[in-house]
Point group: C2
Chain length 588, copies 2
Amino acid sequence: MYRTHTCGELRIENAGQTVTLSGWVDASRDFGGMTFMDLRDRYGITQIVFNMDSDAALCEEARKLGREYVIRVTGEVRERSAKNLKRLTGEIEILAKNLEVLNAAKVPPFTITEDTDGGDDLRMKYRYLDIRRHSVQSKIIFRSVLGLETRKYLSGHGFIEIETPFLIKSTPEGARDFVVPSRLNPGQFYALPQSPQTFKQILMVAGMDKYFQIVKCFRDEDLRADRQPEFTQIDCEMSFVHREDILQTFEGLIHHLFLSMLEVDLGAFPRMSYDEAMQRYGVDKPDLRFGMPIHELNEKAKGKGFSIFDQAAYIGALVLSGEADHYSNKEIKELTEWVQRPQIGAKGLIYVKCLEDGSFKSSVDKFYGAEDLRAWADFTGAKPGDILFILSGEQDKTPKQLGELRLELGRKHFLIQAGDFKPLWVLDFPLLEWDEEAGRFFAMHHPFTSPKTGDIEKMASDDRAVLAGIRADAYDLVINGTEIGGGSIRIHDRGLQSKNFSLLGFTPEQAQDQFGFLLNAFEFGAPPHGGIAFGFDRLCAVMQGQTSIRDYIAFPKNNMGRDMMIDAPSAIDDKQLKELGVNVVKSE
Amino acid sequence: MYRTHTCGELRIENAGQTVTLSGWVDASRDFGGMTFMDLRDRYGITQIVFNMDSDAALCEEARKLGREYVIRVTGEVRERSAKNLKRLTGEIEILAKNLEVLNAAKVPPFTITEDTDGGDDLRMKYRYLDIRRHSVQSKIIFRSVLGLETRKYLSGHGFIEIETPFLIKSTPEGARDFVVPSRLNPGQFYALPQSPQTFKQILMVAGMDKYFQIVKCFRDEDLRADRQPEFTQIDCEMSFVHREDILQTFEGLIHHLFLSMLEVDLGAFPRMSYDEAMQRYGVDKPDLRFGMPIHELNEKAKGKGFSIFDQAAYIGALVLSGEADHYSNKEIKELTEWVQRPQIGAKGLIYVKCLEDGSFKSSVDKFYGAEDLRAWADFTGAKPGDILFILSGEQDKTPKQLGELRLELGRKHFLIQAGDFKPLWVLDFPLLEWDEEAGRFFAMHHPFTSPKTGDIEKMASDDRAVLAGIRADAYDLVINGTEIGGGSIRIHDRGLQSKNFSLLGFTPEQAQDQFGFLLNAFEFGAPPHGGIAFGFDRLCAVMQGQTSIRDYIAFPKNNMGRDMMIDAPSAIDDKQLKELGVNVVKSE
């Protein structure tokens, strides 16, 4: 037997017992007559004592062991004289009587402690050592518990977990499909799913009523920071529902997960339209952990001879509270440079300090008198001591820049309280998004999203502005400025689905070729249905206040899509390629 | 609101309430003044009544609806005069006041009833109609509940569910890998995992201690009946364990699943060595729902001048109880032809009838007298009234043929009781299996399986017979003659793993290239570990007494690996191929 107990289990009540523990040598301290060793496993750390007086040979043996050796120790539990009350096993130690090395260890390339991780490349190459660190291990365990809690909740609410296939059909709409050559069907390919979207809709047509799945999805994108080619979704679909049913059901799920995992009561989730989110926060996923909405200043600021504002299609302001009197020119210069970075792209930054004494100081004093500035302050609700930051420019870009500036000010001035969670439903997204380069509409959500009932007739229009104004019955769940879920009521009518495909530039033949099975299914009694999918990796990270999803994934890939530990992808045998009927094109 | 209740929910207590139901028109019966309609959803069927007297227009409308129309009905619950007590909703009906068609339906290509399924091709093409059948739906729901129960049990026993990657590295050992070209790494490929084997071992090295995952695996095999290119495993691994720990833990899981899902108490699982299983049942997965072991007759039957037996390396017998006196020549002829089929491959079948009157009648009466035959009967335990069936031939083939004959006799003579479950652990498999054609050993389980401790020294031998005699610390769980799980204690020592790779024909360079990450991991403190994987699809089928896994998979592929509903795999764009850096080789 390798162990009678784990390294996290023994307490003062066990004193006097003979026990066997197995684990990793975490640390070791030699004194003249004694060696104290910390033995570690997933469950905790237990102190082992080797005594030179009582067993010199055993103590010598123990002193030869390096960090991360795997050993088995048998001995007697006894009360410690110097207790470590920060550790659950800290009242006891094991007086070793027997020691066996189960596996030796070379010196690890980095020390396995919380604050030493050896950098990203080493961590990923030696992921098996990295995961031994408590901070990484605890994230992987959190994910496991969250998954089980999700399954228990949804199953308890009548949802059936159904596995959908991974080897599916490639569609041009999904230009970012990973594909898999079929050996049995030479020249043909499967695709890995970007989501089980069409299958979950088919399951509704099949009468399964409530479906969910925690499922891997795949997207072959140029990887940005914190994107992974394979990621996990909590994927859900329900029949005979309106939007309200979906919002209630999944608000319930998220509410439950925060309560059961974190003991956080999120309360009722506020709701906001896409238009309002864009106008007030310059983004479709506002972080509501602090205020500072955007105020449009067009009417107040134009026509006073300041040509930059007069020529701008849009002028907007943010109010930063209580910083006016001590904000330095240097700070303003830094902020100005920040908004001028290409990632943000603003031309410049105007400020108006509303000083405590009731006067104003601004970078546009030449054009605007105290009356004008007071009017701005009144309009935006700025009080003495506040600063206004103003950006101007194009109608579609400037609110987004203000949104970015708002987040930067929130970070810079610590407006976000640690441990705070602010959920938000964002509703009524546009159905279609015009792509100037492609010269056609794309689906903002996906091609199966239903327009809002009142907007269906607009789909008959050939006026681009009318089409762009169609609202979708789509919704996102945002927490702390991160989109953690999104979904929609789906089209369940063949005619409407065909119309939507045609607006998206599909010929009837293309639509039939790629999605014929779904269009056909809609002819055999399709129930009204809708659903949502949550980013599981992202949900884990947001719940634990982390910005990166990386450590919630046991074996993540780097941003060239490479697994540094196993060194994949890699070349494969010519024989295997031949069997698959494909050739590698040699690049010159 | 689409519904206030489901179609399986209303009872006599609801009489008098006004309710709204949505669902599919299952059947409809018109009488002079009334139309009775069965409305169906996942939860049940409720009878709706339309009354010509009270609302002729509504009743006329209802009469226009075809099968599988999706409708919403509002009406009043009332007690039925003619109750259907076989149906949970059978005491009530809804008197319709309002009817709305939510989606029309064409006439389905097959009727959606239990006994009409339209044949396999139609079923798979119209899987969304097939799944509407209760028998299919209930299997998919069973699978979902079984998955949740598995997760709850394993989590409750300290296992962490950890997702391992799907885009991994191809290895020549896995010649049946599906591969995925990498766009970001041209000329390189990922492989889809045949199992998460190396990752779960890495997780043990990482100190996760107890891992599980219900996970899709992929194998690009020429598909036999009831094999799928993608299938699901309950994959498990534990650290600091001997075989006994694993057997206890997972016997506990399976015991729990049968008890909680089926109210069946499996009792303690018997155990049998691989050698004994092969000798007594001619197969490594004996069906113990009936007896009839194989008796080797070499000593008793040779040397009496019957040249077929004298020249055979092996002679073995089965005893069929109580059939001797009425077994016809025709039946024996049929059995003889059955064992001579190429799938079985026996040369002929010898029988000995032990008649009720104590005499014998056999097909070898010319060579063996009553004394000889009585000796066979005594040796095999055959009583008056029993028949012996005897096969002879090669040492390695004949017991397998007897094993097949045993199963055939079990089926033919109804020796298997419906609803009976007989689990069995099969232990001590050979480590290595000689492949005559390849001229080398293959791993019987996989290359990471540990030999039994006592057999490790045999690995140094270069005698093929000694190597073939090495026993692995491997085990299979068999239920009712079906292998539902298998696993082993793993090698956790770099040296032993390297030795095993070399016995399997890997050069050190090949081993390092393909499994270097694992060999390296073993140098940084690898704990002793072992695990098991269960075929989840198969477990579902065995638990419900089904022989096919097909209906436990929502969207199975046919035996050309094709999804008939979505028509995958399929050709993909040249543009996409170009981006991936691969070419399709045109076949001439």
